[in-house]
């Protein structure tokens, strides 16, 4: 029976190949698009957990319905958090200002993604490790020294293969001495955490932002378990410094990495589902292609069906023959599609490294074969139900 099916398909090579191509594209796109979606969610997860699960970010937010403008976060807030005696859950505090500017080294000019002014605690809290040189110290902060630690991307852009440590660069007219280069964290596909310059807070404030507010305060909880406790402590202390009485009207927002993680995850999940839906449609179109081809095949071979029935072919044999053909089409098409999908997932798509979901491979293959059976059964049934004389008269 399989031999007959192969012969039947071989009789119309181009047509069979095109039908298989339809299934192939369907299966490959399901695997590949789901892999891209999954890859991006893995990347997001990695980037967020790499920030450290103990980290809490405090940022300013205007409270809803409040008439007064939100009070910005200040270095004093950070100091209040750092010095609070009754908050054992807070391990370290780093106020953060961010700005942008152009860095110059010799005649090389480059604009890093972010210029960050902060305290040394930032490095540990944000899970940043130094690769060459060293972090700047608390002493550097106290003395507003013009020193900087570069992210690996910024370092390569400015220095290429040269060792940046000890070299002097100019950012927005202010000279900085490079004291360290950070280890590469890797791109998440959306932003590059390695494209930064990090310098002592007062230095950056002095040169760029002024001594007003800070953008964020990065707080490290003493452990991953105590983040909720730390969140409560931060709220309590900052309500004090901001003179807010009503807990529902706070003018700051605390986000921890787990909440950020789940928010980002749900976005990427939506993204994955969307991609999957597109892929599923192409799989369906492939299935309709099978029906179409099998209908043509049945019509074309109606007379042959009549001959076979006149010779006493039972209904099941005719049915089996056409089902075997359509199933073979979909099995080969789906098999090649799996191959194409897996090969294709080795290339990164728009900066995202696809991560194949094993279930999607099995699922896509299974669905394609089921589609072959399902969509093939209509034409096959039609062929098998023909009366011999009607089939024989067909020209």
């Amino acid at each position: 029976m399989l031999r007959f099916a192969v012969a039947g398909l071989a009789a119309n090579k181009v047509r069979s190949a095109l039908t298989m191509l339809g299934v192939l594209i369907g299966v490959a796109s399901v695997i590949l698009l789901l892999a891209v979606g999954n890859g991006s969610s893995v990347a997001v997860k990695d980037s967020i957990t790499s920030l450290g699960t103990n980290a809490l970010t405090v940022s300013s937010a205007s409270s809803r319905g409040s008439a007064t403008a939100a009070k910005k976060l200040t270095v004093e807030d950070a100091k209040a958090l750092a010095t609070a005696a009754d908050a054992p859950s807070i391990k370290s505090v780093a106020p953060v200002v961010t700005t942008s500017g152009t860095a110059l080294y010799g005649n090389v000019s480059y604009q890093p993604g972010q210029i960050v002014g902060t305290y040394p605690a930032y490095f540990e809290t944000a899970n940043l490790k130094v690769d060459k040189g060293d972090y700047f110290s608390a002493d550097d902060v106290l003395n507003s020294r013009k020193v900087a630690v570069l992210g690996s991307t910024t370092a390569t852009e400015l220095f290429a293969t040269e060792d940046p440590v000890g070299k002097r660069i100019t950012i927005g007219g202010t000279p900085f001495t490079v004291v360290g280069v950070l280890r590469t964290k890797g791109s998440t596909g959306f932003n590059d955490p390695d494209d930064v310059v990090i310098a002592p807070l007062p230095t950056v404030q002095n040169a760029f932002t002024g001594f007003g507010s800070v953008n964020q305060i990065l707080v490290q909880a003493s452990s991953a378990e105590s983040t909720t406790e730390a969140q409560a402590d931060i709220t309590r202390i900052l309500m004090g410094t901001h003179a807010v009485k009503d807990a529902t009207k706070v003018d700051f927002r605390i986000s921890n990495q787990t909440s950020l993680l789940s928010a980002r995850e749900s976005t990427t999940r939506t993204f994955t589902v969307l991609l999957g839906a597109v892929a599923a449609i192409s799989l369906l179109v492939g299935g309709i292609g099978i029906t179409n081809i099998m209908l043509v095949t049945v019509t074309e071979r109606t007379k042959e069906i009549g001959i076979r029935k006149a010779l006493g072919a039972p209904r099941a044999v005719i049915l089996g023959q056409f089902l075997a053909e359509s199933t073979l089409l979909s099995v080969i098409g789906a098999g090649l599609g799996v191959l194409a999908g897996i090969v294709g997932s080795h290339f990164s798509v728009v900066g995202i490294k696809p991560v194949v979901i094993p279930e999607s491979v099995l699922g896509a293959f299974g669905i394609a074969v089921a589609i072959g059976l399902f969509f093939g059964s209509y034409p096959a049934n039609r062929a098998a139900a023909l009366r011999p004389i009607d089939a024989l008269r067909h020209e």
């Binding site: 012969a7 009789a11 007379k303 042959e304 009549g306 001959i307 076979r308 029935k309 006149a310 010779l311 006493g312 072919a313 039972p314 209904r315 044999v317 009366r387 011999p388 004389i389 024989l392």
Partner: protein, 258 residues
């Protein structure tokens, strides 16, 4: 005319019409009553008989043959094959009847395209569930009987019309059916091929097989033991040329069978 056994074919008041209302065509109707009602065709064919069905084009010969071969169903009336009413058989049983009891030969050969002569002849055996080695042996024997043993590997487009029809005959007789039905088997053949094919059919009848053959050539009808004439869907004459249990007339005349 002694027939010990009951007739293989018994047809009672069979009619076949196509279309509806004013456009209705009575392809088979038999005698018509005064009121214009078709009474249907009655026909008995004894085992071992060799019947030629003649009549002008459109007289209903093929319609009758398709009903006899269980390829088509009558509009009304009963058809008993070996005593069984085929009208009561389901699809699977009909497939079995077509496979085991009937060998059908068509005017247009109706070979399966792109399939070798051997595979063609093996087909009915495959549907009967015969195993591959046995199938091959019997198919080769059938091809040998029609003198085409050396053409087993040829596809239809590599065979002449006469050879194709002989393959079709081999295919019809390979399951050793009791009945061979042939609808103008020589209609598309030249004189020499006609003689070859008729020779084979005569031989099959001499060995006891019931044969019904449609033709409009008198020379072909001379091979039969009994000649029916159809006009407008009714049998108008029924002439016996030789006894049922004797040899077919052509062989008797040639003195092949005593």
């Amino acid at each position: 005319m002694r027939t010990a056994k009951p007739p293989v074919i018994q047809i009672r008041r069979v009619t076949k019409s196509y279309g509806h209302g004013d456009a209705v065509v009575h392809a088979l109707r038999g005698p018509v009553t005064g009121g214009g009602e078709p009474l249907g065709v009655d026909l008995d064919v004894a085992e071992g008989d060799y019947v030629a069905v003649m009549g002008s084009s459109g007289s209903g010969k093929s319609t009758l043959m398709n009903i006899l071969g269980c390829l088509d169903v009558p509009t009304s009336g009963r058809y008993l094959l070996d005593g069984t009413d085929v009208g009561h058989l389901d699809e699977g049983q009909l497939a079995l009847v077509r496979n085991r009891k009937i060998g059908f030969v068509f005017q247009s050969f109706n070979l399966v395209p792109r399939t070798t002569a051997l595979a063609q002849v093996e087909l009915p055996l495959a549907y009967a569930g015969v195993r591959s080695a046995e199938r091959r042996r019997r198919a080769m024997a059938a091809l040998g009987l029609v003198g085409l043993a050396d053409r087993a590997g040829h596809k239809p487009n590599q065979l002449s019309g006469g050879q194709q029809q002989r393959v079709a005959v081999a295919r019809a007789l390979v399951t050793a059916p009791a009945m061979l039905l042939a609808d103008e088997p020589t209609g598309n053949l030249d004189i020499r091929s006609t003689e070859e094919v008729l020779g084979i059919i005569d031989g099959l009848n001499a060995r006891g097989r019931t044969v019904v053959v449609i033709t409009h050539e008198d020379e072909v009808a001379l091979h039969a033991k009994r000649v029916l004439r159809l006009v407008d869907g009714a049998i108008v004459s029924d002439v016996r040329q030789a006894p049922v249990d004797g040899p077919p007339p052509a062989l008797a005349a040639a003195g092949v069978v005593a």
